[in-house]
Symmetry: C3
């Protein structure tokens, strides 16, 4: 035992660990590629150094939970224990404040990996991937806890609102180019053009087809949300786009296993659905002041991937 | 391929398609019978011509999604891809307004069929039918989206209310006969006695036993909701009855496969439960201004059908 | 048939029935022991004679539903059809008022057993126990129904609140000893020290290790909720402790099947999680005026038990 432990701390193992963690970062975009992960980390770090550190630490923690818990090695290596931790770490760093919010964020990252394992078990016979469901539910729960626990300080950007007096705010500038970069940036809560470019590099590195889908998915979402009368401020900040991007990647590329399908069409339908779901889920969460996170992506993708088992041409 | 396509557009296939669509309409009442579907369509059309057209188009769309998606032919023929589309089309036609609400309704009908396929997959090992769950969740989501998307106009009959200032309104006339016809009418949001009579014909055509259960289920619901102090206005508009009717049909007839059971008793218990669930779900939805739709039926029926696997005499 | 029925009413069967019912009471604490059940019943009866009677009747009803429904005898004997009925009976007795609330409570107890059967079926391939989920959902539904049905009178202690104007109340005395007894008492909504002592006897009777876990779980919860800035009033009334107690019993003892695990550590993590979940769920339920009941325990325990299937060392 002692022997194995020592052996496991060789340079080789450290490299494996680092690669698994970087893949964990790339898995947020459903990509299994350490270099892409590195570009994403760079995109985050150029926006905020602290957030970059938290991203890397969260990825480490998720991977460590997988290793210590004794998970299947292949899953760990693909970064499947990392991506929910990464997102949870980021969200709790951004939406909580106070001196100890980073401890809460890292604790959240650890629990996200446990939750990931739990969902893997629950979904093992479903033929459908768990996506970012653990991150979403866990983050919502941690943010909600702030209303009851004084040491959890919510940022003032999140606050409950009353649906009875709710008015859609139609002010705001129309800026299609910014909308293009903000869509992919929003996946990691980033707003700078440089970050957007680095994220595009991360995606194109993993495959030109993925990059193309990102552009199509985001364009569809910008157009549909604009035509249906969404709030311009939200549209061009990319808040209608990021779920569409993830959905088209999942539906048309990553989880598409047959060639004789309308798979681009299904991805576009999925992207349209995320626009509706973004609007619905934002409404549902309004009284609690919570952000929709990637729930529209998860629901839309589950819908289409499950339906494919019964409608094989979808 | 070309050849098969041409062949599939013969008169025979058109008849099959029409029958499947009409059965889709009848499946709302858990009936697998095209003539019953025709009577239901008639009941809807006598109330509103537009709603009749939308019902038929929605049934067509659901069936087409099943065919194009490559679903199992037997399921398509029984109308199993139609009924959630029919209900979604009706609800979105009724509760949305504006010049394009019918496009949204038909889009909703298509997604309802995809959602139906997804649920069929998710429930395939459960031994429990999916019922109208896809319709309910999809309709709620589409209605909620209206708070964020300007082109989705909600009818003024749906509006969020505050539970803190909520008062039960005990005014309203007691009219048991109207309550009898309104119960079955409410399944399709119909309020005329003629529609009620046509719906009864549809049910009795499919089997006198079904018709009897409709009467028993509705009577139980009227009585129980009245005794427990429900709002008279809601009771006699059939709003406590329609879920009870669907539940007793499902529990005591359609999904009842053994004879040595308390199956009428179970259906009556299920009907009573829908009264409680109607009250609970209406309360839960109050802050969002959403209607309960057939959720009480779905939950009550799932409860009893699942319990039967462990309590076989139920 | 007649013959079997008569035979089933011998003295021996009556003893079996009584033992199953008492075990049903003990199963609330995840204990399969009739003597422990008797001590729990005593603890409840010393607090309120009516509540004691309702507890026993609810246990009887749950067991009877199992027998009449034709459930697996082993499950009935272990009290698995009783504990959700017991809790539902207690909650509806305590939180509803009016002349007929005890009828509603006993009806609730019967439905709780049906719901238990339904969940057993739904979870049969999950490898995870249903815990008190049926009790929680059913009780919430019955309490919510009171807003719509005049004959359901809610106690004034439950009332909807507005999250927009919500303030955490940091007043209240710090009393660690009281917190110790109130934690275990809260599982049955009991507040007297005598009841607390009788409950400790019930647990220690079933095994000294269980008793130790109760103390550890409650201490962890008291400490963590205090450090995170929970409301002192709630902490020392045991409202952060009871879910932690149940979770550590479930995770570290009852559903722990392997020895080479960090099982005490996992139980402590689970207990910490219940503190966060208690805060989150209380926030979610605030607008509806519902109590969190044992939902934090159920979610935390499901999380860890499911995760263990993928992370076997947890």
């Amino acid at each position: 035992m002692q022997n194995t432990m020592q052996k496991s701390w060789t340079k080789e193992s450290l490299a494996t660990f680092l690669i698994a963690s970087l893949k964990g970062i790339s898995q947020v975009l459903l990509i299994n590629n350490a270099i892409s992960g590195l570009f994403i980390l760079l995109a985050i770090t150029t926006s905020s150094f602290l957030l970059g550190i938290m991203t890397l630490l969260s990825a480490f923690i998720g991977t460590i939970v997988g290793i210590l818990g004794g998970a299947d090695k292949e899953s760990i290596k693909q970064g499947l224990f990392g991506y929910n931790s990464v997102l949870t770490g980021i969200v709790l760093t951004l939406f909580l404040t106070g001196p100890y919010h980073w401890i809460i964020a890292l604790f959240g990252a650890a629990i996200a990996a446990v939750f990931t394992a739990a969902m893997m078990h629950a979904f093992k016979n479903s033929g459908v991937p768990i996506l970012t469901f653990p991150f979403i539910i866990l983050s919502w729960m941690m943010l909600l806890a702030s209303y009851r626990l004084k040491e959890f300080h919510l940022t003032p950007t999140l606050f409950p609102q009353d649906l009875l007096n709710w008015e859609v705010d139609m002010t705001g500038n129309i800026d299609w180019v910014e909308g293009m970069f903000n869509g992919i940036g929003q996946i990691f809560f980033l707003h700078s053009t440089l970050s957007g470019i680095l994220l595009f590099i991360a995606v194109f590195w993993a495959g030109w087809k993925l990059g193309l889908y990102v552009i199509i998915g985001n364009s569809v979402a910008l157009l549909v949300s604009y035509l249906l009368g969404g709030e311009p401020n939200l549209i061009f900040m990319g808040l209608y786009g990021y779920n569409a991007i993830l959905t088209i990647i999942a539906v048309s590329a990553v989880f598409n296993t047959k060639s004789n399908r309308f798979n681009l069409f299904s991805g576009i339908v999925g992207a349209c659905l995320t626009v509706l779901l973004t609007a619905s889920i934002a409404t549902l969460l309004l009284p609690y002041g919570l952000p929709a996170l990637t729930m529209p992506f998860v629901l839309s993708t589950w819908l289409i991937l499950s339906a494919r088992k019964v409608l094989p041409r979808l």
